[in-house]
Symmetry: D2
Subunit: 205 residues, 4 copies
C-alpha cells in the first residue's frame, strides 16, 4: 500500500501542500469493493468544504551523534502572489494510505530521494495542528479548507534536494528558526508549529 514513487504531476498551489494524487499509485486490488479513491479537482474542492482533511507534516532536522537537534530545515518558495514564504514538509493523507506511507511520500517529494529521513518509531505526533479557513480560530489557518495535521520531527541523514516548487531548503539553528522574522515568513501560522517542534525536542531557547 506504500506510495513512495515521486508524484509525476505536482500541484502545490496553496498553503497546505497536498501533493498530487496519482490514481494509479494505489493497488486497488487490495481494497476490493471500495472506490478508486480518485478525486477530481472539483470533487476535492467540494469535499474541502464538507469535512476536515487529514494531513501529515514533518519538521526536518539535523541531529548530532547523541540525537540532539542542531539544525532545522525550512523550505523556501514563492507563493501564488510571488512572495517568498517558508514552510515545512506537508501533505494530504490519501484513502487507504498509512500515516507512515504518507509521511515518507511527502518527505521524498519535498526533500528528494537521497534525504534518508528517519521516520519516528512512534505514530504519536509531537503536535496536532488544526488549520481553519477563518484566521484566528486557532493558531493555524488555511483559506482553502479545514485541515487537521499530525506533525512530526524527522531527522534527515542524507542529502536534500528540494523538488517541485520549492526553491531551497534552508538549515537554521534553533535560535534562528524561532526568530520572529522567520515566524512571519512561515505560512499558515507555522511559526508556532516550528517552535513547538523545537520545544518538544528540548532546544527551544
Amino acid at each position: 500500500m506504500a506510495v513512495r514513487t515521486p508524484d509525476p504531476d505536482p500541484e502545490n498551489s496553496g498553503p497546505l501542500d497536498e501533493g498530487s494524487f496519482d490514481a494509479g499509485s494505489f493497488d486497488d486490488g487490495t481494497l476490493p469493493g471500495v472506490g478508486p479513491g480518485w478525486l477530481s479537482d472539483i470533487e476535492l474542492e467540494q469535499i474541502r468544504h464538507r469535512l476536515p482533511i487529514l494531513y501529515v507534516e514533518a519538521v526536518p532536522v539535523r541531529v548530532d551523534g547523541l540525537g540532539q537537534v542542531i539544525e532545522v530545515g525550512l523550505l523556501l518558495r514563492a507563493n501564488a502572489m510571488g512572495e517568498m514564504t517558508r514552510t515545512v514538509v506537508s501533505g494530504r493523507v490519501m484513502y487507504g494510505e498509512s500515516l507512515r506511507d504518507a509521511l515518507f511520500r511527502h518527505l521524498e517529494k519535498d526533500l528528494g530521494p537521497m534525504a534518508f529521513p528517519q521516520l519516528p518509531a512512534s505514530p504519536v505526533p509531537f503536535m496536532v495542528a488544526e488549520y481553519f479557513p477563518i484566521p484566528g480560530v486557532s493558531q493555524y489557518s488555511d483559506d482553502r479548507q479545514h485541515a487537521v495535521s499530525l506533525a512530526y520531527v524527522v531527522p534527515v541523514t542524507g542529502t536534500t534536494e528540494p523538488r517541485q516548487d520549492a526553491l531551497e531548503l534552508t538549515w537554521l539553528s534553533p535560535a534562528e528558526a524561532c526568530s520572529s522574522q522567520v515566524a512571519a515568513e512561515l505560512e499558515g501560522g507555522r511559526g508556532a508549529l516550528v517552535k513547538a517542534a523545537l520545544a518538544a525536542v528540548g532546544v527551544l531557547p
Copy 2:
C-alpha cells in the same frame, strides 16, 4: 463553533460511531463563503471511499486523588447482528469543529451530561489509531471506511449515564480491561487501543 448540544437523532450503526450530524448545529455565519458542511447519508457513504475520515476517541477513566488511573470505562452495546460488543467513546470530527469540541460532544453523547470529563490540556493524543476497511492492514479495522482516530485518556469525575444505543458503561480494573476476553469483545481491534491507553498512564500490568 462549539457543538455541545446532545445529538437529537443518533445514528450508531457501525464500529466507529460518528454521532448524528445536525446541520443546524453550526453557525454558518462564522464560516462565510464556505459550504454548510452538511452531508447526506449518501454523500457521506461516497466520501468514505475517497478520503480518510478523522475521528476522536476517548478512553474514560476514574482516577484517585493523585491522578493515578484506577478504573477504565467501557461501553457495552448490541451491534446490528444482536451481538454484545464493547467499545470506547468515539466519533467523527465535523467540518469547522475543533478537536476539543468534537471530543466533548462525543463524551457527552456517550456518557451523558453529568459525567464532567476532564479534557486533556494537551491536544496530543496518547495514540493515533488507523482503521482500514480491510482487516490485517493495521491493528484496527472498520469495514465502512478508512478512519484515522486521535485517542485520548479522559478522567471522568461525575455520574455517567450512557445514552443512545449503549446499554451500559462498565468500570473495570486495569487488569480486567486488558484481559483477552475483554479484548475479544472490543470491536474493531480496540483491545489494542485500551492496552495502549493503560500503558500510556503507567498501569498496564
Copy 3:
C-alpha cells in the same frame, strides 16, 4: 508512603526548592531493613556533589471547560540577594516517595491546601530538564547541584494561597508568560521550561 502534610520547617534557599525533609513523615516500617532516609544538611550538601538529584516540577495552569490552557501561574519571590525572581512549583523527590506523592506534596507546599491540583494521569513528563552547576552546559542551571527534573503541566481548580517564602502566585496569559521579560525573571533558565510547557499544550504563540 504519601507525604502530604505541610512541611513544618521549610528551607528554600536556592534556585531549586527542595522543601524541607521531615524524617518522621515516612513510615519506616514500610521499608524494613533500609535506612531512615534522613539527610542532614551537611550530608545533603555532600551528596549534591556526587549524584544527580531527582526533582519534580509543575507548571500550574488554569483551563477552560474544554481543557484548553488559558493562564499560567508563576510564583514570585525574593531570592537570597533580595532580588525578585519568578519560578514554578519545584522540589526534590525523597527516598521511598513516589513521583505522584512528591508532586502533590510540592504543589500543596507552594500553592496551599485549597488549590485542588489535577495531577496528570500519565507519569510521563512534558519535559525533562537537566540543571547543571555550570551555566551553559544545558538550558538550565543550578549552582548548588546537578539536578534532573521531571516537569508536568498541572491544572489547578481551586484557590491558591502561596506559602513559605513565595510572595505571590501571578496568573499570566500564555503570551505574557513567554515574554522575554518574564523569561529573564525566571530563575535557573526556567523561561525555556515555561515555553516548553505552553508548546506542549498547544498554546505557545
Copy 4:
C-alpha cells in the same frame, strides 16, 4: 562531559545495572569547585538508602524503512543465583553527565561499539519507571535501592555484540516480547516496561 569510553571494570551485580564508575572519565576541570563525583562502593551503598537514584533505560528495537518497530532486543544473562534472566539496557546517570551521554554510554556498554543506536531527538521518555526496594509498591522493584528510570525506545541499526555479563541479545517479535513467559523472565517487573514500549510505538498486540 561525554563518557563514552567502555567501562574498564564493570560491576553488574544487581537488577539495575549501573555500570562501573570511572572517576577519571570526567574532566574535573569543567566543574571547578565541586567534588570529583567519585563514590566508593560503600558510599554508594549508603546513598542508595537515602535518595532515589536516577537511571536511564533503553529498549533496543529494529525498525523497517518506514520507522515501524519490527523486533525488540532483550538481553539474556545469568544472575547471581545462576538463573537466566532477561533485561533491557539500563544504567545509572553519573554526576555531571547528561542523560544523552548516559544513554549512549550504557547502550555501548551493553550492545557493543558497532550497534549504532539512534538516540531519540526528544529527551522525553516513553515511560518513567519507579523501582522501589519493596515489591508491590509499584510495578517495578529493585531490592538494592529506590531508583527512578527514564526509559526510551532506541532503534539500533548496526551489529550488536553484548558485552560484560550479558550472554546474548535476543531479537523477538512484538508478540513474543510481550508473552507472559518472557515477562516472567524479565527482572524487576520489566515485562510491564517492554509492553509499555511496544504500546508507545503502536505495536503492542
